[in-house]
């Protein structure tokens, strides 16, 4: 816990993600209400909350998989609007890991990883493959490089998905319930990779129910309910002294 706070203090002060008074509607349904959020470099944030609270929608707004109707989102100094060029620039800097992995089944693992660098960063093939092998070794799955996603287990696929995002050398990594679709015995291998990533100083926003991960790695834990950020605090404060009743209710339901 101490290292986390020291890290936070030492981190650069200019925020890498700034969200101001952001609102989003799905038709008439007000899914995100007046979101204010600042994420500093190297900061690690965990967002939790009941289903339907808007957590996934919030992080999907950051890389424009969803569009916000009001307010500002600024990522690494670039404002997120309908400007296609800006969106592409932002997406190259923001990596996303999905609940259902979304690996490309018709390509080998190696090809899955080198696709982005080759076609977006215009890197030569050999260099892309070398960096792909480097990240595959990092997530400890290098021996599967020439297999296809359909031949791997869920935990292996998710680790490959993380490596695929890392190959683009993003500045921020977004995780949308990365372990929710995994069998229990495979959750640990994915969380271990995420913890190692955290220790190397990656800025991370993680939507998850894994509270153990939040306690050991997060700088801040945010609780969302009905489209609003209800409260947010350091893990120790958040879990030991929740301030709002809704937070207390949620914590009592998941920590038993």
């Amino acid at each position: 816990m101490n290292t986390n706070q020291k890290d936070a203090a030492a981190a650069a002060h200019d925020p890498i993600i700034e969200i101001r008074e952001m609102h989003k509607w799905f038709g008439e349904f007000h899914v995100l209400k007046n979101i204010d959020l600042e994420v500093r470099r190297k900061e690690r944030i965990v967002i939790c909350g009941p289903s339907g609270s808007g957590k996934s929608t919030l992080i999907r707004c950051i890389n424009r998989l969803e569009e916000h109707q009001r307010g500002r989102i600024v990522v690494d100094g670039i404002e997120l609007t309908n400007n296609v060029k800006n969106i592409e620039k932002i997406r190259a800097e923001v990596g996303m890991v999905f609940q259902h992995f979304n690996l490309f089944p018709h390509l080998t693992i190696l090809e899955n990883l080198s696709l982005g660098p080759i076609w977006v960063r215009k890197v030569p093939k050999r260099q892309a493959e070398e960096s792909a092998m480097y990240y595959l070794e990092k997530v400890q799955i290098a021996e599967q490089a020439h297999k296809y996603p359909g031949q791997l287990s869920g935990g292996q696929q998710q680790r490959v998905a993380i490596a695929r995002s890392l190959c683009m050398a993003p500045k921020v990594m977004l995780f949308d319930e990365p372990t929710s679709a995994l069998d229990p015995e495979m959750i640990k291998e994915v969380l271990d990779v995420m913890i190692e990533l955290a220790q190397e100083g990656m800025t991370m926003i993680v939507v998850t129910h894994e509270m153990g991960f939040a306690k050991s790695v997060a700088h801040r834990v945010l609780f969302m309910d009905y489209g609003q950020i209800v409260e947010g605090n350091t893990p120790s404060e958040f879990f030991d002294n929740p301030r709002h009743d809704r937070t207390k209710l949620f914590l009592s339901q998941i920590l038993h």
Partner: protein
């Protein structure tokens, strides 16, 4: 950044007005970006060029109840060709005063089909009702019993003939198709090969060649003196044709069954016949009902081909009307009418199939 304020005032903020309501719908569905806007304009222009002239021709300037000469003077569609020859188009050469019989037969069929829509009717007694129904339909058409005058099958025509060929065709082809599918799965090589050859051969050739075979070659197969009428020849060809397609569809269902079902039945001691009848076929056939309905729709459309071997189905009766000098030259109107009949039939069947597919998906 402390806890957000939780005042209820947040809920009264409304989404931007151009993203909801009628305006929002129009904007996001029709004018979403410049490409879509251009598409919308082009489509609207195209519709404008087609629909008003068509409506004028078909309804405003059209003639509904007159003879041929008045039709030729009119600028619009001549629907009188349909209204005057209505009974011939629908019933063919069936004796005029006995036409209530095919009418009743068709109504009986429609009632049975309508009842089949509702799955709570799918019980054993319903199957017997169907068989009794089909029997009565045949009786009504043919006559000869119960004081009904006998009508030769050479006089049958029009819509009843089309329905007869499709419904009897599918009904007879179904058991044959199931047998073929089972045979194709068989472990006995001779049986499997015979079924494979049959299925691949029939599926590889156009229906017209089988109809030719039926009308020209079947008589050669029979010993001297034995004759089968032309409708029966076409019916047999349609049955043989449809059975091959049903076999492929049922094969899909059989392959979709998990091996565990076979193993459970075997370990209970059931023999092949009981396993198929009690366990495998009920499940497999239920799974493939939607593609089977689609084969019925195809069979219904394919019966139109019998016009080529000079049977008086709906298409041929229409063409006969057109060859009458008084009504020559109004093909569009007659064909549009027949197209409407086919469309109504096929559309209701495919609609039903989609609804059934949704229901079956929910069940599983």
């Amino acid at each position: 950044m402390g806890p957000a304020s939780l005042t209820e005032a947040e809920d009264t903020i409304k989404p931007p007005v151009t993203s909801i309501g009628v305006v929002g719908w129009i904007k996001s569905n029709l004018f979403n970006g410049w490409f879509n806007s251009i598409l919308t304009l082009i489509t609207v222009y195209g519709l404008y060029k087609i629909i008003p002239p068509f409506v004028r021709w078909a309804f405003i300037d059209s003639v509904w109840l007159s003879r041929g000469e008045a039709c030729r003077e009119a600028a619009g569609a001549c629907w009188s060709i349909v209204t005057t020859n209505f009974r011939f188009i629908l019933f063919g050469f069936y004796p005029y005063d006995l036409q209530w019989r095919p009418l009743v037969a068709m109504l009986l069929l429609f009632v049975l089909l309508f009842m089949s829509r509702y799955r709570r009717f799918w019980k054993k007694w319903f199957g017997y009702t169907w068989i009794a129904g089909l029997f009565s339909m045949g009786l009504l058409m043919k006559g000869g019993l119960f004081g009904l005058a006998s009508v030769e099958s050479t006089k049958w025509g029009g819509l009843p003939l089309t329905l007869l060929l499709s419904v009897f065709g599918l009904t007879a082809a179904y058991p044959l198709g199931v047998l073929l599918a089972l045979g194709r799965q068989s472990r006995l090589p001779m049986i499997r090969w015979i079924c494979i050859v049959y299925i691949e051969m029939i599926r590889g050739v156009p229906l017209i060649s089988l109809l030719f075979m039926g009308s020209i070659i079947f008589p050669l197969f029979l010993p001297e003196g034995v004759n089968i009428n032309s409708i029966l020849r076409a019916q047999i060809a349609i049955i043989l044709f449809t059975a091959a397609y049903i076999a492929e569809v049922v094969r899909g269902g059989l392959q979709g069954m998990s091996k565990g079902q076979y193993e459970a039945a075997e370990s209970m001691g059931l023999n092949y016949y009981l396993t198929m009848r009690l366990i495998i076929l009920p499940q497999a056939l239920k799974m493939v009902i939607p593609p089977t309905v689609s084969i019925l729709i195809s069979a219904f459309k394919d019966t139109s081909l019998v016009v080529i071997i000079a049977l008086f189905d709906l298409l041929k009766t229409s063409q006969t009307v057109l060859s009458n000098p008084e009504w020559m030259g109004f093909s569009r109107e007659v064909y549009l009418f027949v197209a409407l009949l086919y469309f109504l039939g096929c559309f209701s069947m495919s609609n039903y199939s989609r609804k059934l597919e949704r229901e079956l998906d929910r069940d599983l």
